[in-house]
Amino acid sequence: MGKKKVILIGWDAADWQVINPLLETGELPALQHLIENGVSGNLATLEPVFSPMLWTSIATGKLADKHGVLGFSEPDLQHGGVKPVSTASRKTAAIWNILSSEQYKTNVVGWWPSHPAEPLNGIMVSNFYQKAVKPIGEKWPMPPSTVFPQKYSRLFAELRIHPNELTAEHILPFIPKANEIDQDKDKRLNMFSKILSEAANIHNAATWLIEKTEWDFMAVYYDNIDHFSHGFMKYHPPKMKSIKAEDFELYKNVINSAYKFHDMMLGRILNLTDEHTTVMLISDHGFESGSNRLPSLPKEAAAPAYDHRSYGIFAAMGPGIKKDELVFGANLLDITPTLLHYLDLPLGKDMDGKPLLNIFSEQKALKYIDSWDDIVKRDVSIVEDKETAAEALKMLIELGYIEKPSEKSEEAFEKSKLENDFNLARVYLSSARAEKATEILEKLHQKENSLRIGLRLAIAYETLGRYKKSIALYETLEKESKQPIQQLLALKASAYVKINQNKKAFDCTQPLLNKKPHTPLTAKRVAQCLIDLKKQKLAFQYLSKALIYHPENASLVFLKGLTSFKRKQYADASDDFLDAINNQFHHPKAHFYLAESLYFLKEYKSALEAYQVAAQQNPKQKKALQRIAQLETMGIEIQNIEKEWLDYSGKNPREIKTSEQAKVKFLEGLDGLSYIVSGLPRSGTSMMMQMLQAGGAQIFSDNKRKADKHNPKGYLEHEGVKRLAKNPKLILEAKGKVVKVVSAQLPYLLPRMRYKIIFMQRKVSEVVSSQQKMRENKDAAFPIHLIEFYEKQLKEIETNILEQIHVDFLKVDYHDTINNPKEIARQLAAFLPELSLNTTAMAGVIEPSLYRNRSKNQIKE
């Protein structure tokens, strides 16, 4: 079988909230096809929501502190001043470097940032390719190093369309009354044409590469939905109050048309690729629409990013990918690990993302290496062109992503450094590294006494539990701003709640209660504060008002439901939780509280369904697991809700860290602890059972199998364990006890219990000999196939059972137990401290005469 073929398509800022109504009216047939024949879901973004940082995280699987792209621009260490981020800013391997080094034919088009184009086992067209920087008629050379290999430069230059080449045929579908626009006064048509031609340029390059080259992997990035949205989302229906009626009429179709245009381009790509190609479509963040649009943006660097929504899109179809299913919990850091896993390549342990295992119809073992950076040799001798950098910088200024740098080179350098440090602090703050964030923010706060830095510093203090310091800073910021700032008051209120100064907390909320909340986040903070202060009715009233302005905000609807729930108005509460779920299906808390409301309304079956979804979306919700168990005892069937935990065998350090934090909570939610003695039959499991019994452990046995010459002291087994596959609940009866479960039965242990497994190890050939002897069949041919079978079984247990989050294990060697029972008894006592085992009694079980002679004889055999 040949290599798998994958095309990764990026639509910057594409958002399900705009897409869904268009899907319902059948206006996005290509995307519809992708969704119906594959998986789709939200893709959570990262903080700060700045596209070059995000697309680099997508391409590397790493957070910005590791990949090094810390904003739109960066200090120019060589020439002084400031320059746009470039290929050279990235200090780690991207997916295309990794795949190239693995001999995959790899093409990349337009990825941000990817200029200058870097050497690949394929063709790279950089993100400076599509921009038209000269008026029509003038020569329009491509910047140097736009294309690798350079021999293709001329060809790709010819595939570009200048905005002024576009005709009415291209423009009218977006702006039907374009002929009424006075272009001398209204520059929006100009901006529109520029964005449209840039989209076409990327598409021309991509389609040429798809058709004319042999490739295994392609990554194509379209930035146009983001640019269309920044320019025209304010004219998208429903009409905003601040928008003039005539402007609304002129530009109201642009956003929907932009999505339809992208869908047609997607359709072309789907036509050009076959069913053996995997297509993955993603966006780095969403874009606020409807009532969540801001009437104006704050005056600060990269302010347009305030329009970015926290969830982008994810859709994928291809061989081995599930069909017509939703994906939950995906993060844009997960894209590269998912692609590597799909392509049977190891993941870097230094990656921050995880593979999205649930998108695949079949599971396979994960492979890891320490870092792809140890393997991939990047050509870092990339020459950057100063003139091109200056043009790109101009474009970023026009888009509002960076402020116009100071004429003084040194000043511009320092300002750019400050922005990047600030962004790095935001990365730390959003990835549970508040201490590192504080270190940077304290220094920055000295340099720039601004609200944006002060606010993050106060939040960092609050995260570290330094509430008094955070409150003091909020107050200083409030005084300096000379006007009440909703966000500050809301934050201060929640800090006061944390230190039980409820009166002060409540006072902070007072000025906000009758005002329109500036942002849904502020409303959420105020409402949560009132809920914490047990003022449920007031919170309900506040949220009812806030929802007039932000009716689609799932968090606010959820909190409103919570205020009803806490007042035991379960019917009202369940209505709100359902609304919240309709707005945002991936909302484990809403599913859980919906389940709780239904439980108290005695609608147990519906409650169980909701608990199951809550547990699927967040397997660490211990209360959901407890309730499911409770409903199960009432006779209601459950599904295997812990699948995600069973699938999980991550060795990625970040995952382990996360799981360690979650593990405690998860384990608390389980049904209890059982002690399992396991191993292949005749590996010493009965001997171990006898030791533990002698040590004082309670044994789960029905004593049906009596002692015999092979096990003179008895087997200490339970007959029912042999039927564990049919009746897994039997294990619930063994809570707190030691039970013998041979290796073949281990996969049937109920996942909602915690287990400590003592796994007996003995050479497989010895085990088989012993089994033959026991069956008095020693003259038969030695069963090689059985050895292979056992070895495979042991390998599977090693990777699939012992690695599970709810399993602790101790491996005990059969011969060590016979030769050094005191040491093994000590190890057992240390592994099971809660059983207070008597080590002397345990060691005393081993009778050298009994075991040693048998052991020797068997070895001879």
């Binding site: 206006e27 579908p173 389609t207 339809k260």
Partner: protein
Amino acid sequence: MKKAQSEKNFGWRKNNSEQHQYTIKEFNNQVFLVNALGEPFPVSNQGSLALLTLGEQGLQAWRKAKKLNPNS
């Protein structure tokens, strides 16, 4: 410039041909994209959104049509 009529006239239609490989042909001073079934699609020198979304092939056809009829 004609005023808006219906969306269909503006190229908001999916390329309904499953035969997505086109060749560019000239006939009687007019450029056509011809699919694998031999079906011809006339290419206007004004271009269209559908041509843009065809990518490189659409661009080549449009450029050829403009060259053939620069002033029409």
